[in-house]
C-alpha cells in the first residue's frame, strides 16, 4: 500500500517503519474495541503521503513474467490476456493519483471500502463516489474490444 503511494521502495519502507513507530506511540489514543486495521492504515497512509511529496523518482507497477501469471493455456488467449493487462495497467498509470489509488486499493490490494477510506484519509462516501468516477475514466482509456475478453 505504501509503495503504491510513494512509488519508491526505500520511501515505502521508511514510511512503513515510521508508521509502526508512530502507531506504537499513539496506542494510548486507540479506542479499545475499535477496528485496528483501518486505524493503522490511516497512519501508514499519512506517512506514505508525506514521503510521496519528497520522492523524486516514481516506479510503475509491472506484470509478472507470463509463465508466473498464466497457467498452461492457448498461446493466443495468453497473448490477448497479456495485452489486456498491459493496456489496463497503462491506463491506470495515466490516471490522476487520487483515481489511481482508489482503484488500486479496492481492486489490486482488495481492501474494503472502510480500509480504503482510512488509507486515503477520506470518508467512506467519498470512496464510493471517487471510485465510480475513477472507473469511468479508466473505462474511457481502455480499448473496449480488449475489455470484452476479460475473464
Amino acid at each position: 500500500m505504501a509503495w503504491l503511494v510513494t512509488r519508491d521502495g526505500a520511501e515505502a519502507e521508511d514510511a512503513v517503519q515510521e508508521a509502526f513507530i508512530k502507531a506504537y506511540g499513539a496506542l494510548g489514543g486507540f479506542r479499545s474495541g475499535a477496528s485496528f486495521k483501518p486505524w493503522l492504515l490511516t497512519i501508514v497512509g499519512n506517512e506514505a503521503r508525506n514521503r510521496r511529496r519528497s520522492a523524486a523518482r516514481r516506479a510503475g507497477l509491472v506484470l509478472r513474467a507470463r509463465g508466473e501469471a498464466e497457467g498452461v493455456g492457448a498461446p493466443e488467449a495468453a497473448a490477448l490476456a497479456d495485452e489486456r493487462r498491459r493496456a489496463v495497467l497503462a491506463a491506470l498509470d495515466d490516471l490522476a493519483e487520487a483515481d489511481r489509488l482508489v482503484i488500486s486499493y479496492r481492486y489490486l490490494l482488495e481492501m474494503s471500502e472502510a480500509e480504503t477510506a482510512a488509507a486515503l484519509g477520506v470518508a467512506r462516501g467519498t470512496v464510493k463516489s471517487r471510485l465510480s468516477r475513477a472507473l469511468a475514466r479508466l473505462r474511457q482509456n481502455v480499448d473496449p474490444s480488449l475489455l470484452a475478453g476479460a475473464p
Partner: protein, 253 residues
Amino acid sequence: MNRDPVVDALLDLAGAVEFPDAPDVRGAVRARLGARRAFRGRPRPYQRWRRVAFAAALVVAVAGGFLFASPGVRRAVADFLGLPGVRVEFRTDAPTPAPREDDVDAVFGRRVSVAEAEDAIAFPLPLPAGVAGAPDAYLPGDGAVALAYPASADLPEIESTGYGLIVVALRDFPPERYFGKLLAGKNPIFDEVEVDGRPGFWARAGVHTLSFDGRLRSSGNTLLWEADGITFRVETDLGVARTLSIAESIPDG
C-alpha cells in the same frame, strides 16, 4: 464473473501484477522501540497491555498482507517470531484439533527414557530447577527434546495433555519441521516478555492451536524464547509470572 468488464479486468490484473518484495522492517522497528524503552525505563502496567495488543496487531497487520500484498509478506509471517523451529500461521477459521488420544505422544514424538533423550541431543537437557518429579521424555526429531512433568498441586494439568509442565528445546531442527502456532479469530495475542533479559513471547491458552508434523492440539499457556541458538518452549496451565520463573530456572545451552 463481475458484470462490469473493467472491474473484471482489474481483478484479473491484481493476480498478474508484480508488487515489490516487502521489506522486513521488524528488526528496525524493534530496535527503535527498544531504544525508546531503554531511554524511558520499564513500562507501566497499562503500557505493557498496549504493547501486547500492538505486538499482536503488528502480526495481524503484516499477515493480512495489506501493506505490500506480496509473497514476501507471507514469508515474513512464517518466521515472524524469529524463533528457529517455530512458525506462525494465520487462519480465517480455527482449526479443530482431533479428540484427545495420547496427544502428547502424537505431538511431541517418540517416548524415550531421560537418559536416551540426553544422549540424543547436543545440548544440556532443559531441566527446570525446583520442579518435583521425574519428567517423561520425548524426541520430536533430530535436535529436539521434550520433557513432560506430571500434573501436581503446583502444576495444574494442561487440559489437553494430562501433564502439568511441558518443556521443549530444539537446536538445528530440520527446516522442514517446525512447531506451528495456528492463530485464528479477531484478536490473537502474543505478549512480548523478557526471559532472563532475552526477548520472548507469551501466548495464552485458547489463543492458538499447536501443530506439529500435521497433528493438531489445543495449546496451553505457552512461553517461547531463544537462548544461545536453542529455541525453548514452555507450556503450562500457570500464569505468566510463574511460567517465567520456571523458564528462567532452565539452564541455557
